[in-house]
């Protein structure tokens, strides 16, 4: 390592650091607002037994780690990316024999009072490894082979996380496809992916047969429009037929199969309840325990969203003021320090407060893209894009969930939600980006 100190680090983007600090402090204030119970303030903050003081502690640990990251040499990250990826995978796999059951998730390792969620931490390592791979010289991203390798880097940890019943965290890995898109992944793949997602949503909304008819009509209309070209080019006809077959196949067979055999009933129900439909589960094949579990989860999910909407909706324009929100103060919103922390802002500071927070996040994201684009090294660029994508995914899904436009997926709001692993992960993710950006003139491989 070189002889570095903070003074010598030129080019640190202090704006991002300030935004980061504001967000974390807002987070601690929100946690304080919801969990403070008239205890003595000094002992409350120093005992590290209250949630807000623990979050403060995590913040301090994060600062130390951020400092270490800033002091490290940029080359350190490129050099160790693959190694870290390997370590990350080992950690993820270690969960299986050593996990402890906490609230239905099997993704947490607990040792001597600390809890570690490798799935959370792994985002850093995957991002580094992906950046490393994408910055390989002579990488041709239009080739299927490189597409597959890049996808595997992302999807392997995702698959392992799903096996630990952490669907939310597993979905986060899909945000890395944005990075791949930026680095040259053919947009056709993304368009196909997007269309498939649209098709799945339509399958939920529209009756199977009607949707099949609609698809057929669309295909026939398309063929009618291009009937002149058809005479010269038969391949259009074949492509259309293949696409039509695929679409109908997905909506008639793949989606029902996926819903009935892959997803858990409560997950299916959450998805359905988000699009505003009631899903009738075939309970005949289920054990009684599963039915009860499903109903509990369904109730809990609906209740959470309802209460969360009430809390945010009752905030109005100006909000009720910090600590004055009746809903968040008195535990009406479950999980309000973790996944539903946004309610505190929504209720306490109203629409303007929410707008301020969203503005802050959007500013951070845009700033990250600007940062990424000014890198000379594609490693740095890919990495920073990865950070932006992961943040974006978390923010959009989390807030979308609290205001009821996205199914309840338990993922934290970056820098705000209570939780040590999450805060440390997001801090490290961000500060590596800042560190790389400080060396933007360097070419890293």
């Amino acid at each position: 390592m070189k002889n570095n100190s903070f003074d010598e680090i030129k080019g640190i983007d202090w704006t991002v650091v300030v935004v980061y600090a504001i967000l974390v402090i807002m987070g601690i204030a929100s946690i304080f607002a919801t969990t403070f119970r008239d205890e003595d303030l000094v002992s409350g903050f120093l005992s590290f037994k209250t949630d807000y003081s623990r979050q403060l502690l995590y913040f301090l640990i994060s600062m130390v780690l951020a400092g270490l990251v800033l002091l490290a040499d940029s080359k350190f990250f490129t050099a160790t990316a693959n190694l870290f990826y390997f370590i990350g995978m080992v950690l993820l796999l270690l969960v299986f024999p050593f996990h402890t059951d906490v609230k239905g998730t099997q993704s947490i390792i607990r040792f001597s009072g600390f809890q570690l969620q490798p799935a959370e931490l792994c985002k850093v390592f995957v991002n580094l490894a992906l950046a490393k791979y994408l910055s390989t010289q002579d990488l041709n991203f239009s080739k299927l082979k490189s597409q597959i390798i890049a996808s595997l880097i992302v999807l392997i940890p995702s698959a392992i996380t799903i096996m630990q019943s952490e669907t939310g965290l597993a979905l986060v890995y899909f945000s890395f496809f944005l990075v791949m898109y930026r680095e040259g992944l053919p947009s056709a793949i993304l368009i196909i992916g997007f269309s498939a997602a649209l098709l799945v949503i339509l399958t939920l909304l529209i009756d199977q047969n009607i949707l099949a008819a609609l698809l057929t009509i669309t295909a026939l209309l398309f063929l009618y429009v291009v009937r002149r070209q058809l005479k010269r080019n038969k391949s259009i006809l074949i492509t259309t037929i293949i696409i039509w077959t695929a679409c109908v196949g997905i909506q008639r067979f793949a989606v029902p199969y996926f819903f009935s055999d892959v997803l858990k009933p409560y997950q299916v129900q959450r998805i359905y309840s988000t699009v505003g439909k009631d899903f009738e589960v075939n309970t005949e094949t289920m054990s009684e325990e599963d039915i009860k579990k499903m109903e509990d989860k369904k109730k809990a999910g609906n209740y959470n969203v309802k209460q969360s909407k009430i809390a945010i909706g009752s905030g109005g324009m100006w909000g009720k003021g910090l600590m004055k929100g009746t809903q968040t103060r008195y535990d009406f919103v479950p999980e309000q320090r973790t996944d539903f922390i946004f309610c505190t802002i929504g209720e306490g500071f109203g629409f303007l407060g929410s707008l301020f927070l969203l503005g802050l996040y959007l500013f951070l994201l845009m700033r990250l893209i600007t940062m990424a684009e000014r890198q000379r090294s594609s490693f740095s660029r890919s990495y920073i894009y990865g950070v932006a994508s992961v943040f974006f995914f978390h923010i959009f899904i989390n807030i979308g969930m609290t205001i009821g436009i996205i199914p309840v997926i338990g993922i934290p709001l970056p820098f705000m939600s209570y939780g040590g692993t999450a805060l440390i992960t997001f801090t490290v993710l961000l500060f590596i980006a800042i560190r790389l950006d400080a060396d933007r003139q360097m070419i890293l491989r």
Partner: protein
Amino acid sequence: MPVFNQSRKNVIRLLFLVAFIILIIRLLFLQLASTQYDLLAMDNAVSKKIVYPDRGIIFDRKNRSVLENTLTYDLMVMPTQLKGLDTLSMCKILGISSDQFKERVIGAIMKNGRYRPSVFEGSLSVETFVQLQENIYRFEPGFFLQERPIRSYPYKAAAHILGYVGEVDSNILKRTNYYYQMGDYMGLSGLERYYENILMGKRGVRYQIKDNKNRIVGRYENGKYDSIAAAGRNLRTYVDIEVQALAERLLKNKLGAIVAIEPQTGGVIAMASGPTYDPNLLTGNLRKTNFSWMLRDTARPLFNRAIKGQYPPGSTIKPMGALIALDEGVITPQYGFSCGGSYLGCRRPIKCTHTNAGHASNLRVALANSCNSYFSHIYRLAVDNPKLNGTTNGYLKWKQYMNSFGLGVKLGIDIPSEDRGLIADTGFYNRLYRGNWNSCTNVFLGIGQGEMQATPLQMANLMCIIANKGFYYTPHFVKSIDDATAEDTILNPFKQKHEVTTISGDIYELVQLGMQDVVESGTGRVARIQGVAVAGKTGTAENYGIINGKREKLKDHSWFVCFAPRENPKIAVAVIVENAGFGATWAGPMAGLVMEKFLNDTLSDARWKEVERIENTEIILPIVRTKRNRLDSLRKERIKKMQNRVMASNHSKPSSPKKFPVQYMVHAVANLRHDEEQFI
């Protein structure tokens, strides 16, 4: 290579921007466009606790409280907290089956939701309360006891005067513009209803913040929106509760009414309707059951005959006929009529009970002898008064007099649902006789029969007019309101003096003396009181009822009206006993006892014996009695079944059969409404 894809940064930027705009639009709808979330949040976290003030007390003329507030306890249930509780032993204490238990819990959830407490069993009986209080710790927090003040009546009397308090229904909620709320109690009849605004006081409201488990965690906005409860104010009445209780005793086993008024003020001393009921029956948790049984009782104990019973007044109207004739100047007190045993002035002779010559030689004598001929004649004289140009005008004038006496109109007493009685309109006779009628057609009005009906209250008021020599105050119960202010105008109508005649005091004295003769030497001797000059008039009213589809003449109603002492009247009384025959037989002695009790404040032992004799005599139409007895045995059967069921479920300790709280029992009496009542 990367250079080629640089434009894609804008696509990603656009994606971020669009996603955030979606979030902001959604927030816009949620936080600014919809108002429901505010209400939902209030509903979630703020509970409005109503602080009920104590209702005002009602005192009698000697400042004895005729009703009081006592505490009763409701057993409340919190449906979310029932897990793991020993519900079986709760069922045993309450004497219900586990099915009933489930039903009630479901009912509670439907009514108030599972996070809020609901009444599981209201107004617990003393035994149940004692058992529960010892054991309630075992059932907490799923069950808890909540106190609620209810009315109690130490004298067990004056049910019809006081009325009762009950839960408001949706009609009342709408009518009062939602001043009341579901679950509130208000006066539903009697004084409780009429003086509701004064008795209820002012409710206080406390807004409290609660958490997700429905625990109270503090006051909302430091009590900014709270209001303080103000206790209801007390009423002081003219009622003498002991006289009232006596009147109710006298009416036992009979249908009828007694009204006693203080003539100088119009204050009602007693107002009893028979049969009556113990007002304590309509408090507590048996209110609804008792109420419905009373509703089905053929004797109609809920029916206040004193203000709603309408009877032909019979001979008791004669003094009024005299007053009208005197006021119009068609007779003088010296006017005489020769009656030979019947009145022959019209086509059909009207029989008179006297045949001896000179029994109607002047007004005083005619009154004392209650000569039918005399009063038929002077009725015709009044209606055919040459000054008035014809029968129609003459009759209208006569009707105007009757109305000014308070007959055929509502007097406006301070309890609700008074009836007006009947003085027929000329239109009625025109329709009935196609315009072809004269003073002979309705000559029976002169002797209180025909198209004429009066309530006992109105009859007592007539006595006040004679006692006061020409004026009355609207009968009313309440003398004063404690802590009254200028805003309390509710008593103003009762301070207005109603002058009804222009006859001089001397002439009144003659009418009074005629009535005194009735008691001293005439038909009303039964009402005499030692050492007091009583003026009275008996009445025997013919009436009809429809029995098994046939119109039948029933036994006459027995009337007695009077006031005493004659020189300085302190009490005026009207008594009617349905289908009891001559006025002198039953109504007279009852009126005498009531007056004596009031004037002397006590009764001798001999007189108490007389009270007992009257009390124990049953005067009831056979048809009503049969129907009543049938209902009673049905009721006994029901209670027996209930007891058996509870004993069966209590077989752990069969030696202690469950005691039931007071229940309404139909004790073989019945009611017949005056004329033309339909008996199926």
